[in-house]
């Protein structure tokens, strides 16, 4: 075991040792665990990966072109589909970009509501990530438990916005609806159950599991310099020991009043990424509780003209999505349509490092590493 401690990805292939004929394996775009329509062209030497070429674009919908041909408000519905596991956070960044162009700010209550639904969405997204990660590693139970808890979040969103998945809830200058009657009590009840029962259950099933630890510890190591150079953000970056969180570095909305404790781990391996997500869910619960306690009254939306015509200008709005920094660079030419809206998806940038990580690892680790990067193909291809 002592030799294992010096293991580094990339130095694993024994150049002078026994080698067999290389085989090219086409993993995807139809494959159970490439999390969508990602295609990986793997060059294999036995079970060892020599090279990997990701092929993306199977889900490209020309989202940026669609934004240019829709009024500002119409883009909110389309951006739901970008990162389809955290639509609320996508909507927030789009609404924020437009608000910055118009020079308005939503009322304080709207900002708190955005924080609450955003953090709920982050929990939902992390639940899917962790559940499917367990499934990737062969554990069939966590995914069902995670989806069970996520269903209740979606129910809450449905009672709030009318939609379970593509919410279309944010508006430029605020949010669409206020909390219905009993929603807050329901949410608090859910938070209690989630924190007292669901999370410990999940921890017991995965965190303390020897096989799970053996599969994830020391696998897919990213060192901090590499992570920053590759532009990684989100849990992936924080698991490598880099303290960067948009909510902390450049707080927006209600985060200016409710401080976030960034969840950081030093190990930089798949297990650290899993732990960061688990810790972030606890942090989300704390944030939601705080926001519900301090929830101010007042209106939920700025009065805006029906046809939004922001003044000419440009902006770069960022939020911390469940997967990292989600940004929109938006140009307004004074008309009702954005002149250019560039969506920076965190999954797209995070996926770039995959070939570096896979080289020298086994086929089983391909899935373990890919799952820990936690991509959403809708966000990669846009």
């Amino acid at each position: 075991m002592a030799t294992e401690a010096t293991f580094r990805p990339g130095t694993f292939v024994d150049e002078g040792g026994l080698r067999s004929e290389e085989m090219i394996l086409n993993m995807g775009p139809q494959h159970p665990s490439t999390h969508g329509v990602l295609r990986l062209v793997l060059t294999l030497d036995g079970e060892t990966v020599i090279n990997c070429t990701p092929v993306i674009g199977y889900l490209h919908r020309g989202m940026e072109k669609i934004f240019e041909n829709r009024p500002y408000m119409g883009g909110i519905r389309y951006i739901d589909n970008a990162d389809y596991l955290s639509p609320m956070l996508n909507e927030i960044v789009y609404a924020m970009a437009t608000e910055q162009l118009m020079g308005i700010e939503p009322p304080r209550r709207a900002q708190y509501i955005r924080l609450i639904v955003g953090e709920l969405e982050r929990i939902a997204s992390h639940l899917v990530a962790i559940g499917t990660y367990g499934l990737d590693l062969g554990a069939t139970t966590p995914v069902v438990w995670c989806f069970r808890d996520r269903e209740l979040i979606l129910d809450m969103f449905e009672s709030l916005s009318g939609h379970r998945f593509t919410h279309n809830y944010m508006r430029v200058g605020g949010v669409m609806f206020d909390f219905p009657k009993g929603w807050i009590q329901n949410c608090e009840k859910w938070l209690d159950v989630f924190e007292k029962k669901s999370l410990p259950d999940l921890e017991g099933l995965l965190t303390g599991n020897e096989i799970f630890e053996a599969r994830t510890e020391g696998v897919g190591y990213i060192d901090p310099q590499q992570a920053v150079a590759y532009g990684l953000t989100g849990p992936l970056l924080r698991a490598s020991g880099v303290n960067f969180d948009v909510r902390v570095a450049r707080p927006y909305g209600a985060y200016r009043e409710i401080a976030v404790i960034p969840q950081i781990r030093q190990e930089g391996d798949c297990f650290a990424r899993y732990r960061v997500k688990m810790d972030e869910m606890r942090e989300c619960v704390r944030l939601i509780r705080t926001a519900l306690d301090r929830l101010p009254g007042g209106s939920i939306c700025q009065r805006t003209p029906i046809a939004l015509r922001p003044q000419r200008g440009e902006t770069y709005a960022s939020v911390e999505s469940a997967r990292g920094e989600e940004s929109i660079y938006m140009i307004s030419d004074g008309s009702e349509y954005p002149y250019r809206a560039k969506l920076r998806g965190p999954s797209f940038t995070n996926l770039q490092i995959l070939p570096e990580l896979l080289r020298g690892n086994k086929i089983g680790d391909v899935i373990a590493i890919l799952g820990s990067i936690d991509i959403v193909l809708g966000d990669v291809d846009r």
Binding site: E4, G138, A214, I261, E267
Partner: protein
């Protein structure tokens, strides 16, 4: 007619056919019920219902599911190696049926003539590898090929500790053999262990039944055998050959319809066999309340209808206890499936060669040494059991991290560098200054600001 009933040859032939038909029928029914039970247990573990609609609690699914498989189209793509592709399911399935014949379900329902039951069982379980490898090669699919090769390596490797873990039991039978201490006539030799399943069951049927079950003398043996059985049957957490998330379906990728069903039933049949062998070797076989030999000793000897009825009732009791114990072991299979993730291929092999095989060899040496101690039979067995149990506890608690990357600590040494970029300057420092101080973060979460040149 009376001549026929006393004709030994005829009775043997009848005995064989009854046993064979029972084995075949039992295998099919067991596999069908196991599929249903697996769905139900998985559903229970995962907070959902499982099959619900057809029949009470969805029990008809046990029939509908195989029926659906039989009726499906048998697709074979053009590039396959035709002979291998077609033969592989049969070669996988045949040994499973055959292995059932040697299992001692009850005193009558066993082919008692096979005195080398364990050898035959081990030999038959090795043939499965051939079928899986043929399927992997013949499918002409890369996922299938990798799955087949993984399976070959895995099953050949785990064959060794599987056999070695049984040796301890055989050695214990040697001291229980008649002529040494016991008066049972079924064991024919003294001082030599038996490799016949019925003999081993009989050895555990000493008066005072549960105290002679070999699970008490060899608890480590049972655990090791069960782990190897998990690997032999390609069940979770050793289900690498058909690792769904990596290899789509492994060697099963190209199969459909009846051929797929044969693999499917074969896998569940293998589970049943492993459980049955564990029952026979470690859990006292068909011994249990109402099925002890002494209870029926006087009646069975009678001829005529009374004797026949007594035989039937006795055998029914015996088969019930056997299947009951087997069912519990099968449920453990399903329970493990719902709980554990999957190992990686190299971890799997490391676990076998660096851990299981040395441990089984060590177990054999220790057991042999203890059985030579001149302290009397009961004391020998007690000492063996206690030492074996101590080894099991040592294995479980002292060597907890068997396959992990870091043997001692959680954090590998090469990952222990602390390079942290601090982003708490500027805007954030002003915005959060008050609250960050109030919310004291745990020590390991605190970022150490370090300048990066």
């Amino acid at each position: 007619m009376n001549d026929l009933l006393t004709n030994d040859v005829f009775l043997t032939v009848v005995h064989f056919f009854v046993t064979f038909l029972f084995a075949l029928g039992f295998l099919s029914v067991a596999a069908m019920l196991l599929v249903y039970l697996e769905r139900k247990t998985q559903g229970y573990a995962q907070d959902r219902y499982g099959p619900l609609h057809y029949g009470p609690a969805g029990i008809y699914l046990a029939i509908i599911d195989p029926l659906k498989l039989f009726l499906k189209e048998d697709v074979k793509s053009g590039q396959t190696d035709s002979i291998m592709f077609r033969l592989a399911p049969a070669i996988f399935f045949a040994p499973v049926i055959t292995a059932f014949v040697v299992l001692p379900f009850s005193p009558y329902l066993t082919a008692g003539a096979i005195g080398t039951g364990i050898i035959l069982y081990v030999a038959l379980s090795s043939i499965d590898v051939l079928g899986i490898f043929m399927a992997g090669w013949g499918s002409n699919n890369k996922y299938s090929l990798i799955g087949g090769l993984r399976s070959t390596a895995q099953m050949i490797s785990y064959e060794l500790p599987l056999v070695l873990s049984i040796v301890g039991v055989v050695m214990v039978t040697s001291v229980l053999a008649p002529g040494c201490t016991s008066s049972l006539s079924t064991l024919s030799h003294c001082g030599i262990g038996s490799i016949s399943f019925s003999d081993i069951v009989h050895a555990q049927m000493q008066p005072g039944a549960p105290w002679y079950w070999f699970v008490l003398a060899q608890p480590l043996g049972l655990v090791l055998y069960y782990i190897c059985g998990l690997a032999e049957t390609n069940r979770s957490p050793f289900d690498l050959p058909e690792a769904e998330s990596e290899l789509v379906a492994g060697y099963l990728t190209e199969y459909s319809g009846l051929r797929w069903a044969m693999f499917f039933l074969g896998e569940y049949g293998n589970m049943t066999i492993v459980s049955a062998v564990s029952t026979a070797l470690f859990l006292g076989g068909w011994s249990g309340p109402g099925a002890s030999l002494g209870l029926w000793q006087g009646i069975i000897g009678h001829t005529g209808f009374a004797g026949f009825a007594a035989q039937v009732i006795f055998n029914a009791f015996a088969a019930f206890w056997f299947i009951f114990k087997m069912g519990i072991l099968l449920l453990v299979f399903l329970w493990i499936r719902a709980t554990l993730p999957r190992l990686r291929a190299d971890q799997l092999m490391r676990f076998c060669w660096l851990f299981l095989i040395p441990l089984t060899l060590f177990n054999i040496v220790i057991t042999a040494f203890l059985l030579l101690l001149p302290i009397g039979l009961v004391a020998q067995l007690v000492v063996t059991g206690v030492v074996n149990l101590a080894m099991l506890l040592f294995v479980v608690f002292a060597l907890r991290r068997l396959t992990g990357v870091s043997a001692t600590g959680r954090l590998p040494r090469w990952a222990q560098q602390r390079v942290v970029v601090s982003a708490t300057n500027g805007a954030n420092a002003r915005a959060n200054a008050g609250q960050q101080a109030a919310l004291s973060a745990p020590a390991d979460r605190e970022a150490t600001p370090a300048g990066r040149g």
